[in-house]
Symmetry: D2
Subunit: 343 residues, 4 copies
């Protein structure tokens, strides 16, 4: 294949972002886009040279010219769209999480296995210049055997109430990125989770039985320990990772808008780190869609697939259980339940 | 009082260190020193102008000229010496931990309350330029209400086998410093502890039912969460703290032997952080004895007293229980047992 | 005007770079491109949707639909093209330097004054996130009155021999960017220059009476002093600026590909700074063409005009004279000669 | 020799500082001290256990027990004291500059050559942890052949008027340290100097024909170029060095009182660098006297001798001439004059 025709399903913030990045890629044509609020996107879609603008994603799925779809619609629509797309043999790029239900995600794993379409989960951070450098150094053995992983992942400000209500909670909405990065940089599966959570930022989280602050302890199958700390309000985007091992330690820091440092009688000042995930992960978003397109063009495996999506969801569900029952939870405990259910 | 006469009990590494620092202080005379291996220290003590060199610490305690003692002998001798010194009305500087037994430490609290001598616990890190700056900024409200505390505390290399055998284990020997710093910078007591521990550095730790790597989650009474990560082998002395709160975040980094950075075609290199605690906390050790002397001279409270010693021990014992029973442990659970015992 | 039609004159490395950046801008159509090696660019130009591909730039100049041209051809062609474009009323974006001859640049100043077209000189660094932040802080008075300016500007590796031969020498080819940044951040004209130069990197520079290493001292009209150090071989792209004044000091550092720091028993390592000017000034190149387009659309002044190009050339010529005659040279001395000539 | 008896000549700020550092050294006894204001120092000297307290330095010089003297009196007294001490066979530690007169310094070189006493010039910065690391890395060839040296050396605040009047001017008082560091890290003599100077901080400097701001360009015999920038008012002590060479670049930064960084919605803040030279070079002062004592004890050469003092003075005088005559000055020009005079 030397030119890929794409359909975009869902034209919210993230759908538009992908369009912006995809349109600069060679060998890519964004042919179609669907959104239930089709009127809102018409002008924008036309300006971007998209031919087909529809409120029914099946018009994309059923188009024999379309090679692949980007699923950027709300999480509760993912399962049906994935099934439809897989059935139609379209390659799939799907935003995280795949679904809110582990049972449904498990079923999709089977569906996808049979369909043989490529499936990439939207864990963009793997494609970040800092995160990927950590993974590279660790996998090259530069820190020796990993002993301790530390991830700091804090949003600049809490989302609005409606978002909180529908996002599935801190673990599945926000920490899920960190669970993926944990697996990515350590190169081993998580075995056990323990969570300390709190509502410290805004009482609104408590209204939805959610939390806004967490310290999540991890135990990996290779023996390493890990800890993730999350907050919904850091006043800037705080994204740092450290892997400490038998030979040494690698750390990454936040990205800044500039390196200017002002030193006066009062002290030294610089601008705060980048505020927003779109700025911070700007290049990562470009890289992830490029990688997906290349995997299709070259018929090579995607770099982050449905199993990666599933494993992160497993940890998120274990984390939630740990928080609710105030005890360490083994991932096995979650998968055992799933087996019972899926049989 | 305008000149303090001191006796040093125990002339090992730390006893000698205190002598080196104390002899530069005004208004201080180191009159006496005791050590069970008295012959080993004679020459050194004479060079330092110390008059009385004895193998029996009671010769110091019974000297009416002595105002204060430094207890630098092995932990299992602390309790008796503290009792003797308190009875004799000598002010006490005692290395950490006060004792290996919570019951004994509790008893000493009562003894010390009655004697009214000043008692300083050897938590030198409170006097470190970095640690004290964090505490200052947090207590000034610069980060707002504390939400998350992170302490990284890693030794350069494991101690020798004999030390491991007698040190009381990771929590009471090493993490105890971090428990003190946690209370110091957050300004609130710890309520609950959960520990993930592992033997990743050297199997010798397992021989003594000890661990060499830990991630310790904390919950504070003021609602803040915390996490400490410990390792016995970082190849340099890794001592970092972060307090994140409603308004912002303060971090401290390691100290380096110099700031030289070499940039070549191969990358950028600098020397690793200071290797040893004596280098890293050099000034902190000077500051802590100075503060003790000033508290006596001015009859003001010491900055870190017997209760600080006790509270850190409580957390250490809770941490051990959490590790052994693989569950979160509330400090209350430990103090409740103590009440039962001490009644 | 709500859509600008552009012609690109010269499709070498920098011409192609501008096309890449311009094609992502709204309200911009790249209609035409000219290059004397027209066959080499045909396929690339077609892929980029450029209609007119020609070996004669007059086909662009004479096209009444064209609003503005980008002059990206060799320096010795600039003067004629600028005259032609100005006469035809096209707005002009011209790469630096405007010309190798101060007399010719002076004449163009007059031509441009009469034509009233907008003229932007390609000093991209003014649009860099670091450089522009320095200028902002200095102009806001954050460092008080500027006392000392320091610019470090070093290329990763020397250009090839053919380039050295034709580039006009270190000052007009490379330092000219630093002369512009000096004026930009200090906000005052240069009054005097003194140069120490040397051939330390490669004897090939001596063959063309050029140098590869220089320390250039500056005196500004507002009293501030300055120093620029240049090298043709730093093994990475070294671009740092410092402005020190009565109230304090602002510094900017190099940009790095990532923030990963690896700490081991051997020391601390990180990747070297970005290697190439296209990486380092990637965003600056985008910003400068965006600013040019906006100046046309809104009929506002360009941010770096022909006088900025001329002033930097003046300093470059004074620097050359200083180097040749081993003495400080006042800018006045250069302008006085020009007046004599142009009268 | 296994114990050195010292006499201190001059008990001002720097004399007292040396006493504080010397008294902690093994094998050292400070026997005597002289100061013309002998009453002011009596109590302090007695507390430090100094036996002989006199207003006549000859009482120290004539004491056969004294092995070495520290000359900490005003610069204009150095020459006579050095002659007397050398004649009496005392080793000499002398603060910088040796004298205000090159002719006199030249004469002392001869006197010292004949006397064979050890003579150390008080260039303490060579013993600084940062400066010495730069020298080490450069001499190990880590940056290859040196191409560019950059020294930033700025005082926190101008000295008082009386000091300015008597200090000999910026070059001999302040820059002289930088001239020594320049020679030290580059490992080659300076060949030519060019100075741009200004009065930007305080008009009081102009009253004494002095300046407060300078950019000093250097050319070294090995071909390297260099630049020093000086200011009398940086609001903190600004001491940075960079050596750039054929293979890479080494930089050192300022030292800070702590590493605490506070990140909030408003930006990132940290405390300013150390304010005062006594804090910044605290360890350097200890190291330099230790090195002097060891050179005597082991009869090894001192690490910074009278020639180092002389060479730095040569550059200072060349710098002054360059400033006055607004032209580059070769060191040769200065030494040629000296030869004429001293013959």
């Amino acid at each position: 294949m030397d030119k890929i025709k794409l359909g975009i399903i869902g034209a919210g913030r993230i759908g538009k972002l992908h369009v912006d990045n995809l349109k600069n890629l060679k060998n890519v044509e964004i042919k179609s886009i669907s959104d239930i609020f089709v009127d809102n996107i018409k002008e924008w879609a036309e300006q971007n040279g998209i031919q087909v603008i529809t409120d029914n994603y099946m018009n994309i799925i059923n188009d024999p010219e379309i090679n692949a779809v980007f699923i950027c619609s709300p999480t509760d629509t993912h399962v049906q769209i994935i099934k439809d797309a897989a059935k139609a043999g379209k390659h799939i790029f799907c935003e995280k999480p795949i679904s809110f239900s582990l049972e449904q995600t498990v079923q999709l794993l089977e569906t996808l296995r049979q369909s043989k379409v490529k499936f990439q989960t939207g864990f963009n951070r793997r494609f970040d210049h800092n995160m990927s450098r950590v993974q590279e150094l660790v996998s090259q053995g530069k820190v020796g055997d990993p002993h301790i992983l530390k991830i700091t992942s804090r949003d600049p400000a809490p989302p609005h109430k409606e978002y909180i209500k529908n996002c599935g909670g801190l673990f599945i909405d926000m920490s899920i990125h960190d669970f993926d990065i944990a697996r990515f940089v350590i190169g081993s599966e998580v075995e056990e989770v323990y969570v300390q959570g709190a509502v410290l930022v805004d009482p609104v989280f408590a209204e939805f039985n959610d939390i806004d602050t967490a310290i999540i302890s991890l135990k990996f199958k290779n023996g390493a320990l890990g800890v993730i700390d999350n907050s919904r309000q850091a006043h800037y985007y705080d994204q740092r990772v450290e892997v400490f091992g038998s030979k040494g330690c690698v750390t990454i820091q936040n990205d800044f808008p500039n390196s200017a440092e002002l030193s006066t009688a009062d002290g030294v000042q610089k601008d705060k780190p980048l505020y927003f995930f779109l700025e911070r992960y700007n290049t990562a978003y470009i890289n992830e869609v490029q990688a997906f397109i290349e995997a299709i063009l070259n018929d090579t495996p995607v770099l982050v697939n449905q199993n990666d999506g599933f494993q992160a969801e497993l940890i998120a569900h274990a984390a939630k259980l740990s928080y609710l029952e105030k005890r360490p939870v083994r991932i096995e405990e979650i998968t055992n339940r799933l087996v019972n259910i899926t049989i």
